[in-house]
């Protein structure tokens, strides 16, 4: 019977441990589109870098995402209230704009983290000052995923 009592106390302690397990980790900025910079001259995809570049949302010039930085990979937050999000990339007084067309879907993450949006990238287009072309690599921007979604080829 002593064994049974010990077993009960053990099961009680085990349940305490279960109830004390840490809460879900909530991820932030999961609505960022990820884009790599590539050289348009190379025959195969080759990483490239834009030196001293500034990136900001269209009509949000005063609120830059990157300011005078060397950029080889971009994290671009998509808009929740519009189906199109545009960004301006400035490089040595040259400017290009890229537009992303997307659809959003509301998803429940957990009771601790609440909800998030998953996006599907439909299309993208751009001006052609120093950007040669763009391509969609992986069209889904999902909560918890860390994948490059688009490629930007520069001259």
């Amino acid at each position: 019977m002593r064994g049974v009592i010990k077993c009960l106390i053990f099961s009680f302690a085990t349940t305490l441990l279960i109830s004390c397990s840490p809460n879900d980790m909530c991820l932030s900025n999961q609505h960022n589109l990820q884009a790599g910079i590539y050289s348009a001259r190379a025959k195969e995809d080759k990483d490239s870098t834009l030196t001293s570049s500034t990136v900001y949302g269209l009509e949000l010039e005063e609120d830059s995402l990157y300011r005078n930085e060397s950029i080889s990979y971009l994290y671009l937050p998509l808009s929740f209230s519009s189906n199109t999000t545009a960004f301006v990339i400035e490089n040595n007084n040259l400017k290009d704009t890229i537009w992303f067309s997307h659809e959003k879907e509301e998803v429940y993450i957990s009771r601790e983290c609440g909800f998030a949006f998953n996006f599907t990238l439909d299309s993208m287009w751009h001006t052609k000052t120093f950007i040669d072309s763009v391509a969609i690599d992986y069209p889904y921007i999902n909560y918890g995923e860390d994948i490059e979604n688009a490629k930007i080829y520069i001259y």
Binding site: I18, S82, F115, F117
Partner: protein, 266 residues
């Protein structure tokens, strides 16, 4: 969370203190006492020089093969009405929810019980991610087996292992959902209140102790697994009444019950 742990530990020690006479081996049974006294008489009062050969042989047999006989007494039977304090205790540590449930336990045979429970739960909170409301009720029914077969006279404690079927009906919704976007601005939406059902299977294990005549206190460990839900939307219930965390398909939990028994046999 610390407050939650403290309360649970305090309850554990409280029940352990109450259950000091819970262990039937802790006290000598009447039969054992008789044997013990007989041994004492044999060693203390009989002069070995006056023993016959047969008496000496008999005493040797006693020494070599002490016979232990435990008498099983019939326990009181009847039905109980009780309250589960799990909800009010959880409210102290988590004020998002209020709940209460009532149970009954009916002897089918001396060691088999039917156990039924009905309860209500309300969940309401507002956090930066979303505002949530839920109202629901649940019912559980099942059978429990008392594995504490050998007992002393007047000892009506039980060690119960049981299996239950649980059903919960609730209405819930999120009146405000916030999507944080530091760059382009936050976005908000809502999810109207809707109904859903949940079914689960539950295993339980734990003691029930008679602290005064016909008045019992007990705590049980519960292991629950969802078998069906008709939730049509993405929103999982924050709590499923009687089940617990709606995000998890398997839950472990405790119940703390006070019960009064109306006996039909003693």
């Amino acid at each position: 969370m610390r407050k939650y742990i403290f309360i649970k530990i305090a309850l554990l020690f409280g029940f352990c203190a109450t259950g000091q006479n819970f262990d039937p081996e802790y006290q000598q049974s009447p039969t054992n006492q008789g044997i013990h006294n007989q041994h004492q008489q044999g060693f203390g009062q009989t002069d070995p020089h006056h023993q016959t050969h047969d008496e000496a042989e008999e005493e040797r047999e006693y020494r070599e093969e002490p016979k232990e006989e435990i008498i099983t007494y019939k326990q009181a039977e009847g039905f109980t009405l009780g309250v589960n304090l799990e909800g009010p205790i959880n409210t102290i540590s988590d004020n998002k929810q209020t709940s209460i449930s009532f149970n009954t336990r009916i002897n089918i045979s001396e060691y088999i019980f039917f156990h039924g429970e009905i309860g209500f739960q309300n969940v309401n909170f507002e956090k930066s991610e979303y505002h949530y409301d839920s109202n629901g009720t649940f019912i559980k029914a099942g059978f429990e087996n008392d594995i504490l077969k050998k007992r002393e006279r007047g000892l009506n404690d039980n060690l119960l292992i049981g299996i239950h079927y649980g059903y919960a009906f609730q209405q819930h919704g999120a009146s405000h959902i916030n999507f944080e976007n530091e760059y382009w601005g936050d976005y908000s939406s809502s999810l109207s209140t809707y109904s859903l059902d949940t079914h689960w299977i539950e295993l339980s294990f734990g003691p029930r102790i008679e602290i005064v005549k016909n008045f019992y206190i007990g705590w049980h460990l519960h292991l629950k697994a969802t078998i069906f839900t008709n939730n049509r939307y993405d929103l999982n219930p924050y709590f499923i009444p009687g089940y617990g965390n709606g995000d998890s398909s398997v839950n472990a939990g405790f119940s703390y019950k006070l019960e009064y028994m109306i006996p039909w046999s003693n």
